[in-house]
Point group: C2
């Protein structure tokens, strides 16, 4: 996975931090499907994800409205319910406004 | 690593996303030292970190001033320079204002 190529700020970020329950229980397949679905949402700017014990997924959006529409997507609502029922021991969601960013890359 | 126990919003987040160069080159030791040092900074609220290929570290702060003071910490400045010279192929830093958060935990 690459660093997301987001536009100049301001834009919005959803930081989703989670601890999984034991076993896959269909999680991997659903996570892939949800990422693919997020990429088709209006206002989607990018996504970054990593897990080693703690999981962190940050998705980037043009507006709070775009975030609200993604949260209310019917297929995503089903995944959110499975998440609470089966996949996650614990999670926290933080909605943020990105005010400033800067990047570095070796030439 | 646990999900950070941050206070009610608003507060600030620094999302640091990175791709490492090959080899440790002293990175692990320095990363531990920098996390310990961050925890002693005024205005520090918490930190969350994961890496599997892509690395994501999110640190949480009371104010933009607290973030600026941490960025200017002399030992941290040295680590930042090593990061650009040796440890990171590429990174992106995003400073955000956390507007809203919510959490879930299995009872």
């Amino acid at each position: 996975m690459a660093i997301a190529a987001t536009p100049a700020p301001p834009y919005y970020a959803v930081i989703f931090t989670s601890l999984r329950t034991a076993g896959d229980n269909g999680y991997g397949k659903m996570a892939e499907a949800m990422e693919a679905l997020a990429r088709t949402q209006s206002g989607f700017l990018g996504i970054e994800s990593a897990r080693d014990g703690l999981g962190i997924t940050v998705s980037y959006w043009e507006s709070l409205e775009a975030i609200a529409a993604w949260k209310a997507n019917v297929k995503h609502l089903v995944a959110q319910q499975h998440g609470r029922d089966i996949w996650y021991e614990e999670f926290k969601v933080r909605n943020c406004r990105v005010e400033r960013d800067y990047a570095f890359a070796h030439s």
